[in-house]
């Protein structure tokens, strides 16, 4: 490449107008030829670009071995926990149902006997329901006393 050509490419380069292809030409020029004296100052610039492109990350990446298992471990723990909860709960429930079976109250075979027993039970219940109703009767006294004190509203109602 001629100096003048390099000069005009450099001009474009510094104006941000070169294409990738033209930039490659510049790089090639500075890496393969002894540049003209006035261009020597750019040699290290393009040399630097070439050198900087090949630098590699020195650290290997073991991360994904640690990340994925960590995720899996989480999954396993939660699975184990849910199994424990399930087993615990179901044995508890099983014990409970066993308990109710032991306190079985029995049943009637004959519908007639069952009907009589039910009636008896219901009548016992209804006789107990009215217990205590007398004590509630006293509350009526409050109503009477109130009517004695507040005569006017009562009179008005009577008048109307």
């Amino acid at each position: 490449m001629e100096w003048s050509e390099v000069d005009s490419l450099l001009e474009k380069y510094f104006n941000g107008e070169t294409s990738l292809n033209e930039e490659q030409q510049l790089r090639d020029y500075f890496s393969t030829q002894v540049p003209a004296p006035h261009l020597q100052q750019y040699q290290s610039l393009f040399g630097y670009f070439d050198q900087a492109k090949v630098e590699e990350c020195p650290k290997q990446l073991p991360i994904f071995r640690t990340v994925k298992p960590a995720r899996n471990r989480m999954l396993w723990w939660s699975a184990a926990a849910s199994v424990v909860v399930l087993v615990g709960w179901s044995t508890f429930a099983l014990l409970q149902t066993n308990g109710t079976e032991q306190s079985d109250l029995g049943t009637y075979e004959d519908p007639k006997v069952a009907f009589e027993a039910t009636q008896k039970a219901l009548s016992m219940l209804s006789s107990q329901v009215n217990v205590g109703i007398e004590s509630v009767q006293y509350i009526e006294e409050y109503q009477i006393a109130k009517n004695k004190v507040f005569k006017k509203p009562v009179a008005k109602q009577q008048g109307s």
């Binding site: 100052q41 900087a52 990350c57």
Partner: protein, 172 residues
């Protein structure tokens, strides 16, 4: 997506992530950490990676954002001393000239650029992305990228010419 599939997707651009991170964070260790961080994030998203148009562009964006966040956190956390230790590339001309390795001082000159411009130079001049890809990574318009790129290149040239001329005079 299992680990092997994920690695075949990720490995081709893993080093690009690292280089971008190093361009911003300067320290190799921090850049390694950033790369890992981004890849782990990508890994957690790996089940729907196929739905993204370009995994590489997304990973580059994530790296850029992660590193800028790191730098911001450092600055706000009174960690400035640690940071200026690294960016000491902005040192005096004398010191730059004393650097025997001329490539090393290009590196130092690049450190003087603002972060956005450093990212753009990294993507264009080192990784050789085309403008479409850069627009996707940076979420910027192509013209804005070109303007910033030109500005960055001119700043580098200015600083290099300064040190170059100074070195010449000194040599005489």
């Amino acid at each position: 997506m299992n680990q092997n599939e994920f690695l075949t997707v990720v490995l081709p651009f893993k080093d690009k992530l690292f280089r971008l991170a190093k361009r911003l964070l300067v320290s190799t260790e921090e850049a390694e950490d950033a790369t890992q961080e981004v890849l782990v994030k990508l890994w957690t998203k790996s089940d729907n990676l196929q739905t993204y148009k370009s995994t590489e562009a997304m990973a580059m964006t994530m790296t850029k954002n992660y590193c800028l966040d790191q730098l911001k956190a450092k600055r706000s956390g009174n960690m400035q001393l640690v940071h200026t230790n690294y960016t000491d590339g902005a040192a005096g001309v004398e010191q730059t000239v004393e650097d025997t390795d001329s490539l090393e001082w290009v590196n130092k000159i690049m450190l003087q650029l603002p972060e956005q411009q450093r990212v753009i130079i990294q993507l264009r001049d080192i990784e050789q992305y085309d403008f479409d890809e850069m627009a996707e990574i940076l979420k910027m318009s192509e013209s804005a990228i070109r303007v910033a790129l030109s500005r960055a290149r001119k700043t580098i040239r200015e600083n290099m010419t300064k040190t170059h001329n100074y070195g010449m005079e000194r040599g005489r």
